[in-house]
């Protein structure tokens, strides 16, 4: 009983999946973002109000994948690939070519052979969290275990799979603490 929803500005000839919810005053560049979307969760992608999902962003979600994005977030081309839960809190900014993934060698979830699903099972566990008002630099890779604290900054091209405290600045590969956003 889902109603096909085409984004009115869309060039890609598909509707958004029925279990993708976009809040008021938010923008998604295209249903192309769901090219590899396989989520069968009640809500696979939830986007809050006043958030921008811009060109090049992808939701490569497996059947148990869930993404929750808060309000006033900006994603300018992040690729999110997971079969678990990813949370992006309010005011977060994710720069170009960022990848959020369950593992180093992540691949999309292909349509031809969908992985086994635990439909109706409990909510998937959160593998990546990006805290409120944090800034994820260009080319950053966040792997399972990445938990970015409130108002933290992850420097360009850093690789993070650990807890970054609130207000911390981390950078490098492997990433390490290089400073604080306030004192």
């Amino acid at each position: 009983m889902s109603v096909a929803r085409m984004l009115e500005h869309d060039w890609f000839p598909r509707s958004l999946p029925a279990n993708v919810r976009i809040g008021s005053h938010s923008w998604c560049y295209s249903s192309f973002s769901c090219l590899h979307y396989r989520s069968r969760r009640p809500c696979g992608v939830r986007i809050g109000h006043h958030s921008g999902i811009y060109h090049g962003t992808f939701f490569d979600l497996g059947p148990d994948g869930e993404v929750e994005i808060g309000a006033y977030c900006t994603l300018v081309g992040a690729i999110i690939t997971t079969n678990a839960r990813v949370v992006i809190e309010d005011y977060a900014f994710l720069a170009h070519e960022v990848v959020l993934a369950d593992s180093d060698a992540a691949t999309p979830f292909p349509a031809q052979s969908p992985p086994k699903s635990r439909d109706g099972a409990g909510a998937p566990r959160t593998v990546i969290r990006i805290g409120e008002n944090s800034w994820i630099g260009a080319r950053v890779v966040l792997l399972a275990g990445a938990d970015i604290g409130k108002s933290a900054i992850v420097g360009a091209a850093a690789v993070v799979d650990f807890v970054v405290p609130p207000f911390a600045v981390v950078a490098g590969n492997p990433a390490r603490l290089v400073g604080w956003t306030h004192r």
Binding site: P13, L35, H36, I79, T81, E97, V99, A101, D104, A105, A106, T107, P108, P110, A111, Q112, R139, V141, L143, A157, A158, V159, N173, P174
Partner: protein, 200 residues
């Protein structure tokens, strides 16, 4: 391997929404999946063939086969190319069951000279409407990725590198030297993190 691919076959292997004629000088095995024709936007190989995909190779949206006229890429059976940007002037060989994740770059040349005077000459030859024939010769060294290698998100592999069977390249690695079979490397420049023994 099929000799030539007709339009219907291309439609079948590309998921039907972005199909187009593929370059003539490529060979594609059975059960391959090519998500976008964009992958061939900078395919300039004149070799016969310039690209060989084995059976069951999956090529996703972000992959680019940027091959110079003299270049050739060979990909073994059942490999998955998610977001590999191949910069090939000579030869890049990918084994079987290799996984190449998002935002990866694999190059068999630096594509520009190191010498300052030659770089200036290169810049002039490459300018809009410049004379490309005056570009200094490229220095190339083939890249070899052996069977069962995993290349992590955002890794960069440079010319002359051989990655041994079953090795793991961590996310964001910059690989400038050979990686032994079964090794795990990470970082910039990539360093040895560990090594597994036995079959992968």
């Amino acid at each position: 391997m099929s000799a030539r691919i007709n339009r219907d076959e291309v439609k079948a292997i590309t998921g039907g929404w972005d199909y187009a004629s593929l370059p003539r000088n490529i060979r594609i095995g059975a059960d391959c999946y090519l998500e976008r024709k964009e992958s061939f936007k900078r395919f300039r190989s004149t070799r016969e063939p310039g690209l060989i995909l084995g059976h069951g190779v999956k090529v996703y949206t972000w992959t680019e086969f940027n091959i110079e006229p003299g270049g050739q890429i060979v990909v073994g059976d059942d490999s998955i190319l998610v977001g590999a940007v191949f910069m090939c002037a000579d030869r890049i060989g990918i084994g079987r069951r290799v996984i190449v994740s998002y935002n990866v770059t694999i190059a068999d040349s630096d594509f520009h000279p190191r010498d300052p005077e030659l770089r200036k000459q290169d810049a002039i030859a490459n300018a809009p409407r410049g004379d490309r024939s005056r570009r200094p010769a490229l220095i190339t060294r083939p890249v070899v990725i052996e069977d069962d290698v995993w290349i992590g998100i955002g890794a960069i592999l440079l010319k002359g590198v051989r990655v041994g069977r079953g090795a793991r390249i961590g996310a964001g690695s910059v690989v400038t030297r050979d990686v032994p079979a079964g090794a795990t490397v990470a970082g910039n420049p990539a360093r040895l993190m560990g090594r597994r023994t036995g079959p992968s």
